[in-house]
């Protein structure tokens, strides 16, 4: 296996790296652009032979907690998620900095600058700093692989979780990766201190002080890390700090020779202070190039932004938002724009849409007939998934999409404010991710809402992963206390339209919590299964 070269997506490089670095379990909820990490482990024959845990978790919080539990048991674990998934998992993540780890614990987070498939472009490095844990940020697929080894090593040396931060472009780009000699997995080994994970205030205070004291050592690790490199250059009119994948965009503009300016490449945090100091002392101005938010740049400027001459995203040298690319960096360096012909005006936008034959379309047709046509626009709170596309033409059927689970709770709040009818639309997988607790809130107060749980038996938007909700939805709703006679399961098809509209109208009139579960398999997974069957 050693020196074997594989062609891998950044996500797959992380999965292979973790497997080779002695992983015993991966925990995740699907989320673009992080999904392919877990899928790779699920497909891997080696992972099956080693009985690596790789089933999906209900959400990112349960994933991080389970990974922490595996770390408690002394084994190496990884939790992975998209950036907004870390919001869901923020509680265990921040507190895992205080408990620390036992077996190596990697928290892999994939940020999505430019919001290709997300509702915001938050930068997870702020979370890493918040939790006071070390962070690794690869520039390429090989580093992504190598950093799994380094990450577990750091985690076990300092008994701390380590964050591995990537962005969409690396997650979904393929390149050659050379494998290393694999490490064996750890055996079951309880923590030495049986109170390590008991965050009672007296213990937490002690552990927090320890975490603070460890910061000096983490900084020293960064100063000596192979992932942080200082390359001198003769032209001191400018120095460059480049983080993660931004390094590639810089070097792409100096293919015919070395970059003339001193370059500090950062791949491990906390940022290596003495290396930064050296650069600042030697150059007239510093240009900070980083993917995501101006994380290093803001620290460098400080509150007063006096003294050091800094350029970057905060002064407009680079755009304040959105993903970087070689051309943006080129322009920031003052080089000429090489862009080709402009896009002709006739080129129309082509937004994503619900697939032909998708059951959600029939549901939105029925909802529009029963809700929008009767009560007007503004009554429907939706959620995260394919069905969010119901906001676009021709449906224009929903009025919100905020975070996983917010449909039910926002509908309840709006009903509390007096909105009638107040409707929630949530997918099956999103419901078991974060909708169940909100439904319980509504049941406890007998809120006057109608909840649609769109059951397509899969996590569709991310490519059709197995949903925890499968076969359990009506049972869960009954268990949470929704009255049996106000739970309806219907097949969203053209021929059932009239019946569907009638049920919606009837449940709007009922003063309390109703749940309607339109149930029809996702057309994509249906086709995939049919194709697989045909090929057998």
């Amino acid at each position: 296996m050693r020196n074997q070269k594989l062609l891998l997506l950044g996500d797959e490089a992380i999965a292979q790296g973790a497997l080779d670095a002695g992983l015993s379990g991966i925990y995740a909820y699907p989320g673009t652009p992080s999904t392919e990490i877990t899928e790779y482990v699920q497909r891997s024959a080696e992972s099956a032979a080693r009985y690596i845990h790789c089933r999906w978790s209900a959400n990112e919080k349960t994933a991080v907690e389970a990974a922490l539990g595996m770390s408690y048991g002394g084994k190496r674990a990884m939790a992975c998620m998209k950036h907004v998934g870390l919001n869901v998992a923020a509680d265990p993540f921040i507190n895992s900095g205080i408990t620390g780890a036992n077996g190596g614990l990697l928290i892999t987070v994939a940020d999505d600058p430019s919001m290709h498939s997300s509702q915001d472009e938050q930068d997870s490095r702020f979370y890493g700093k918040f939790a006071l844990v070390p962070m690794l940020e690869p520039a390429n697929q090989q580093e992504a692989y190598d950093m799994c080894f380094r990450g577990f090593e750091l985690s076990e040396k300092y008994r701390l979780p380590v964050m591995l931060r990537i962005t969409t472009r690396l997650a979904h780009s393929r390149a050659g990766v050379v494998r290393r000699e694999p490490l064996p997995e750890n055996s079951l080994q309880l923590p030495q201190d049986m109170r390590q994970f008991v965050l009672l205030p007296a213990i937490s205070r002690r552990r927090y002080k320890k975490l603070l004291e460890t910061q000096h050592a983490l900084l020293a690790e960064s100063e000596n890390s192979l992932f942080n490199q200082y390359v001198d250059g003769p032209d001191k009119s400018r120095g460059l700090i480049v983080c993660g994948i931004a390094y590639n965009y810089l070097m792409e503009n100096f293919l015919d020779g070395p970059c003339p300016h001193p370059v500090l490449k950062i791949g491990q945090y906390p940022a290596p202070r003495s290396m930064v100091a050296r650069l600042v002392d030697e150059v007239a101005e510093v240009l900070v190039i980083e993917e995501g938010m101006p994380f290093v740049e803001e620290y460098l400027r400080g509150l007063l932004d006096r003294g050091i001459r800094v350029r970057g995203r905060m002064d407009g040298t680079l755009p304040r938002d959105g993903e970087l690319n070689p051309n943006l960096v080129r322009l920031a360096l003052g080089m000429n724009d090489e862009a080709g012909p402009a896009v002709p005006e006739i080129v129309a936008g082509r937004p994503p849409a619900l697939c032909q034959g998708c059951g959600h379309a029939d549901t939105y047709d029925a909802m529009n007939a029963a809700i929008k046509a009767v009560f007007g626009d503004g009554h429907v709170f939706s959620d995260i998934g394919c069905y969010t596309l119901g906001a676009l033409s021709p449906y224009q059927a929903i009025n919100s999409c905020v975070d996983m689970g917010a449909s039910i709770t926002m509908a309840k709040g709006a009903a509390d404010a007096g909105l009638f009818p107040a409707i929630a639309v949530i997918g099956d997988s999103t419901f078991t991710h974060s909708g169940m607790t909100g439904l319980l809130d509504a049941v406890v107060e007998n809120a006057n809402i109608v909840v649609f749980i769109l059951d397509n038996s899969t996590t569709a938007m991310t490519g059709g992963q197995k949903s925890h909700a499968e076969g359990r939805l009506a049972q869960i709703c009954r268990g949470l206390g929704v009255p049996e006679e106000h739970i309806h399961v219907i097949v969203p098809l053209r021929k059932n339209h009239e019946e569907f509209v009638r049920i919606i109208k009837q449940e709007i009139e009922y003063k309390g919590v109703s749940v309607i579960i339109p149930t029809r398999e996702c057309i994509q997974t249906f086709r995939k299964k049919a194709k697989a069957k045909k090929e057998q």
Binding site: T32, R174, A175, P326, I346, A348, R350, P351, S393, T462
Partner: protein, 192 residues
């Protein structure tokens, strides 16, 4: 040497299989490769693109710099125009002529083709038709890959091997019909 290709199309048209065939041929020829793909929401009928970079030395950026693409290879005509800012001065724009109309404001077909014909180096081919002619109605992608092969400095046999590799689990008939589509696309590019 380096070859930078923007692959363009609509989510679901399967541009990634073209990338896989060319990519396989490149790697088997001992070249370096980087290939950035679009996963997620856009795959639901939105515009999608893939940056395929091949070189005889290490490649830094996963994205092709603007104005540096040696080729835009598009399975849909309007989508080929969306990436013009990436096209190098001497780059080729190669597009299938069959429009994929899933939006209400799709421009008139002749205007789209006229914009493509404005490019100094362009090749328009009826790839769906060519695929049907060789008895492989779903082989449009391989026709496009075959057309591109004329402009790519990688042995053609390696691309045929790529097809054998991708479709290895699907039987000799599928392999043969995709190789036929690849060859037909190449032939069209050489003759036109």
């Amino acid at each position: 040497m380096k070859i930078d290709i923007i692959l363009a199309g609509v989510g679901g048209q399967g541009i990634l299989s073209i990338a896989t065939v060319i990519g396989y041929a490149a790697v088997e020829s001992g070249l370096f490769l980087k290939q950035a793909e679009v996963h997620g929401m856009s795959q639901r009928g939105g515009d999608v693109q893939s940056h395929l970079r091949i070189a005889d030395r290490d490649i830094y950026s996963d994205l092709i710099p603007a104005g540096n693409a040696d080729m835009i290879l598009s399975v849909e005509p309007m989508e080929s125009l969306r990436y013009l800012p990436y096209l190098a001065k001497n780059g080729w724009l190669i597009s299938n002529t069959t429009p994929f109309v899933n939006i209400p404001d799709y421009p008139p077909e002749e205007q789209v083709l006229a914009e493509i014909r404005k490019q100094t180096h362009h090749l328009l081919l009826p790839a769906d038709e060519i695929a049907r002619e060789v008895g492989n109605p779903r082989g449009m992608n391989m026709v496009m890959a075959g057309a591109a092969s004329r402009f790519i400095d990688i042995p053609f046999e390696k691309m045929e091997e790529g097809i054998r590799f991708i479709f290895r689990g699907k039987g000799e008939a599928i392999v043969a019909s995709n190789i036929a589509a690849l060859q037909a696309g190449r032939k069209y590019a050489i003759e036109n």
